[in-house]
Subunit: 335 residues, 2 copies
């Protein structure tokens, strides 16, 4: 079925408004009256008009998209950050492309591809395991690191991870614990490194010796937390309290300990990291370090848009404060 | 700093390969040898070459993107589906744009905008609350509904929601429950409607009378599950078992019941819907209906790519089977 290609003039005529009003309705519907918007949308439907975004973006040398590179989309921690970024990017007329860096093979090659391809006007990097030197490409689009970045070379939005770890350990020490263990994330990950460093610093500040056999390696997932619990259950000389580097690991750890018939916090105290929504509904509710995810997502998108608008690859960084959320998973140690 | 614009010929010369090999390396890196890929990527870096995707997409009249419209990105149920869609779309050279339909104002107007704007070559619709008549636009891109859709007008990938609800109720009845309640999702949502229908059908099949005051309205969130628990706790003539239309609501319900000092399943049996990862780690682990999320995401992406390649808006539909996952949140009722 043949169909005449409609123009913006056809739409304006059908809606009884100017072409400028049609443009404004399409680019920023919030600023036009409800009745105008309805008339324009109805005219667009009746005329079959389609905006050619590709042509428009080509004119302004923009792809109109921002890519967020995330290490694990299945982690609910990222879902809320994505929603917050969308809430900033959508009104600014940018689409958000999400790519899961760990979902396919060769994350580093794909990073180079995104940087070189012109697919996006800017990148938000959440994956702290990618090699910073791969970003050293002339003419690449602006990047904001939304995680702690080893060499500080990129503008970033980050939370103070070492500080969060110190708050967690201090809380356990103040409850009377002297035998405090830690479950790390993946060892190369910058978040793991910072939180482990904070853990060590606060142990020292509390006059406690670190015990290498009480530092367990996890990978941020629930399953790895459950695996650590099985090691902990099998050991006789074990810590009375654990700080885990993610809430997901704390969920897996608590579940496995409870399913084995022991109790939290009576038999072991637990502190997580992130404050994902579910942890307040657990029994016991999990004590954790809150990362304000909505704020992280919003500020990452806002700082990146600033760099894109000004065509710069440098820009300001921000540190978002963390706080301890005390709940029911910490109690004094048994004597 | 001025910089000469590099061409694909410059890259081919620097890498010592043909321009066809450079193209192939960029469009489908999996088919070229590792050493070739490295040489080409190094040449791209040294020459500063950037592919102009926008121009390429304009030539083939494609945006190169697929948009997934989701009702709530903060729900971990969607994260795994997104990851599965990416795993199909990325090798096919499509970016995935995610839009949270409930994050901004006027979801219906934005849906029309996405359909009319040419921003994407195809849409995956997860939001069952959008009005199907809004999709009736000539020349729109193909859409696949990845949820149950009221009028069946769209190609879809869906799970058999009514069947899942019947499995849940049957499991409770077989444990001896005669006082079975239900917590719905948002009342207009097609998933809510199908699951409520399955709940009623299986009650009838078991010879049980539905009690209107035992059908509670939720909205799929943990908070709404906790709110229902407070009503349930305050009532004296209450159901001994509940089938909740999402795991998130079941988590909120169990948490609030347990925090009030009652026990699951001793005081109330609970069945959820979805089988999100966390529910196996809860205490008690939650009995639920499994939706195979990876399969849903993969099939949605594959069916949509088929429609895009063939430039059709019609296409096949698929029903993905569900199953009951029995865990520890169901026990016989107290006498």
């Amino acid at each position: 079925m043949d169909q005449k290609i409609s123009t913006i003039q056809d739409v304006a005529r059908a809606a009884g408004v100017s072409t400028a009003t049609v443009s404004r309705t399409l680019s920023n519907p919030g600023v036009v009256a409800e009745s105008t918007r309805e008339a324009v949308m109805e005219a667009i439907r009746s005329t079959g008009y389609r905006v050619n975004h590709t042509a428009r973006n080509l004119r302004r040398q923009r792809s109109g998209s921002v890519i967020a590179l995330m290490p694990n989309l299945a982690n609910p921690f990222f879902a809320q950050i994505i929603a917050a970024m969308s809430s900033v990017l959508t009104p600014a007329q940018y689409g958000l492309l999400i790519a899961d860096t760990q979902a396919g093979p060769d994350a580093e090659a794909r990073l180079s591809h995104y940087l070189l391809s012109g697919l996006a006007d800017g990148l938000v990097l959440f994956d702290g395991s990618l090699t910073p030197s791969r970003l050293d490409i002339p003419g690449r689009p602006p990047i904001i690191a939304a995680c702690e970045w080893m060499d500080g070379a990129l503008p970033s939005v980050r939370v103070d991870n070492a500080c969060g770890a110190r708050l967690a350990v201090r809380h356990l020490a103040e409850a009377g614990h002297r035998r405090i263990g830690h479950v790390t994330g993946p060892p190369r990950n910058v978040l793991s490194v910072s939180r482990l460093q904070g853990f060590r610093e606060e142990l020292a500040a509390q006059g406690l010796e670190p015990r290498p056999d009480w530092i367990y390696e996890g990978d941020f997932t629930m399953d790895s937390g459950a695996m650590v619990a099985r090691k902990w259950l099998a050991s006789t000389d074990r810590p009375s309290a654990l700080f885990l580097s993610s809430d997901e690991m704390a969920i897996g750890f608590m579940g496995a300990v409870q399913h084995a018939g022991l109790r939290v916090p009576e038999d072991v105290s637990v502190v997580g990291f992130d404050n994902i929504e579910v942890v307040g509904h657990l029994t016991p509710a999990l004590t954790t370090i809150r990362q304000p995810r909505t704020l992280i997502g919003e500020r990452a998108a806002e700082l990146l848009l600033g760099m894109i608008e000004e065509s710069r690859t440098d820009g300001p960084s921000e540190v978002i404060p963390v706080e301890l959320i005390p709940r029911a998973s910490v109690a004094p140690p048994r004597e």
